[in-house]
Amino acid sequence: MSMSLSAIVDREELGRLGGLLRVAKSDERHVARGKRLLLGLFVLALAGAVAALVALLRGHHVMGTTSEISWGVLIATYVFFVVSSTGLCLVSSLGHVFGFKVFEPIAKKAIFLALVTLLVGFTVIATELERPFRLMKYAIFSPNPAAPIWWMGTLYGVYMVLIGAELYYLFAEDHRRAKQFGLASVIAAVAAHSNLGAVFGLSHSRPYWYGPLLPVYFIASALVCGAALLILIVTVGDYFGNDKKLRPEHAPLLDALRKLLALFITIIAFFTIWKTITGVAGQHYHKLEVTLASLSGPLFVSFWLFEVVLGMLVPLVLLLGPWRRSWHAVGLAAFLPMLSVFVMRYNFVVSGQMFSLKPVTGHGGEQLSYFPPFKGNVEGFLPYTPSWVEVLIVAGAIAAATLGFVVGSRVLALESKEA
C-alpha cells in the first residue's frame, strides 16, 4: 500500500507532509513520516471498512442504538458529511456559477471534495440502514412521496449526478456547461439539504425538532461547513503543497472566505440563541426538556464547550480579532467549526430522542407517566453510547474522506491546473 501511495504522491510531497511543523525537506526521515501518515489514514479507513462490513452483516446488534434512541452517531455522521458536501457546492458556486472571480481558483477541488464527502456520507448511511440495497430497489418501485426520507434520498441522488457532471465539465474546461450544471447543483443541494432538515422538522411527535426552523438552519450550517472546508483546502493545501507558505494568489480568496465564515458562524449563533430561548420560554413539553439537556443536562459540555465556545466564540475571535491577518489563525478558525458542526449534529440527532415520548424505563409494568409531572426536571434522560463499531465507522469515514481527497487531488492533478 505504501508503495502504491508513494507512486502517486511524489517523494517531495511526502517529505513536506512528514515535515509537518518544521521547514519542509524531502529527506528520508520526512518521506518516511509522510508515508506513515498516509498509511495511518489508510489503516483507519480500512478499520472503518471492516466495521462497516460487520454492521452490514450483523445489523443493529452491533450498534449502541436502542428502540428509544434509534438514530445514533451514524445518522449524525451522515448528516455531517452531506452538510459538508452541500456547503462546498454552495460556497464554491460563488466563483464558477455566480461569477465572483476571487472564488474561481478553488472550483475543482471544492466540487471534487463535495463528491468525495457525499459518497462517504452515502456509505455511512448504508451501514446504518438495516437493508440498504432494498432501499435502492423500493425507493424506485414502491416510493412513498409523503415521506421526507424518500425526498431527501431522491434529491441527494439527483444532486450526486449533477455535481458529477459539474466536475466532469470543469475538467473538460467547458465553462458554459460547468456553470449550467453548477447552477443545477446549487438548486438540488438546497432542495436536498432542506429536505434533510425536514426529516427532523416534520417529526410532529417531537416538538424540539418540529417546525420550519430546521430546513433553514441546516442550510446555514452547510454554509459554515462549506466556507470552513474551503479555507482548510487552501491553508492545509498550501502548507503542505507550497513549502508552508500561502500562495500570494490565494490571499484575496482566503480573506473573502474568512469574512464569509465569520458571517455564517454569526448566523448559526443567531439561530442557536433563538432556538434556545424559544425552547425554554413557554415551557413547551419535550422542547423544554431537550433544550435543558443541552443547557444544564447530560449534553452540558458538548453544548457549551464544543458548540458555543469552540464552535462560535473562539472562531469568531480568530477570524475577526487581531490575528485575522495570520493565515494559520484562519486555518485553525476553520478547523474548529468543523469539529463543532460534527458535535452539533450529534447533539441535535441524539438529544431529540433522549427525552422519551413515553417515559418508561422498560416494557412490562414499570411506572411511567405520559405527561411528566415535572417541568424542567432533567433527570431521567435515556442513555446512548455509541458502540465500537459505530465509532470505527465514523473514524474510518473521516479518514477515507481525507485520504480520498489527498490522493484524488494528486491523481487528478487538481493543483497544477489551478492557480
Partner: protein
C-alpha cells in the same frame, strides 16, 4: 367498511401482564422487546391521588405518522385500517420509530421494524387478538367500530373514553374507557 378498534377498560385492568405474555407467545416477540405492555400512571398529588392502570400497544392510528414517514410503503394500512409493517419492504431506516408519538415500535433482530398487528393473522380467521382472549377481567375488547353490534361500538356508545395524545391528531383506534 370495517374499522377495527380495541377498548381497554381502565377500571377493570389490574396490570396482571397476562396480555403481555400472551402477546409474546403468540407473536414470538424477541427478548427485550414488547408489542404490548401495561402501565400505571399516578395522577394528582397527596392526598387526592388516583392510579390509572391500563394495557397499551400500537394505537393503529387512522392518521398514522409512521405510515407517512416510511419511505418505501413498508408501514401501511391493512384491511380494517390495521397498521402493519411488511418486513420484506422494510429497509430499517427507523424513521417510523422516530415518528411514532407513542413509541410502540422496535427493531426486530432479523432486521426490520416490528410492532403490534392486532394479531391480524388471528383476526383474518375470525379470532380476537391474543391479548384480548387471555384478559382475566375482560378489560380488553376488540371489534369493528362500524358494526353497531360489536362490543367496542357499544362500549364507546355508553362509556366515557379517551385516546392517548389527542393533540397529535393521529386518531387512534385504541380507546381507554375511564
Amino acid at each position: 367498511m370495517t374499522r377495527y378498534a380495541m377498548t381497554v377498560d381502565q377500571k377493570l385492568c389490574v396490570t396482571c401482564n397476562a396480555c403481555v405474555i400472551a402477546c409474546k407467545n403468540e407473536n414470538q416477540v424477541p427478548e427485550g422487546a414488547a408489542r404490548c405492555w401495561t402501565v400505571q400512571v399516578e395522577k394528582g398529588s397527596f392526598p387526592l391521588l388516583s392510579l390509572e392502570t391500563r394495557s397499551e400497544r400500537c394505537n393503529h392510528c387512522e392518521n398514522a405518522p409512521c405510515v407517512t414517514a416510511c419511505p418505501t410503503g413498508a408501514s401501511h394500512y391493512e384491511d380494517g385500517g390495521i397498521v402493519v409493517v411488511n418486513p420484506d419492504k422494510c429497509v430499517g431506516c427507523k424513521a417510523c420509530i422516530v415518528a411514532c408519538p407513542y413509541e410502540v415500535r422496535y427493531m426486530h433482530p432479523e432486521g426490520y421494524v416490528d410492532k403490534c398487528t392486532f394479531c391480524i393473522h388471528r383476526v383474518r380467521e375470525g379470532l380476537a387478538p391474543a391479548c384480548v382472549t387471555v384478559c382475566p377481567t375482560k378489560a380488553l375488547k376488540f371489534g369493528d367500530l362500524d358494526d353497531p353490534r360489536s362490543e367496542v361500538h357499544q362500549e364507546l356508545q355508553t362509556r366515557q373514553h379517551k385516546v392517548l395524545k389527542p393533540e397529535e391528531d393521529t386518531r387512534p383506534r385504541l380507546f381507554f374507557l375511564t
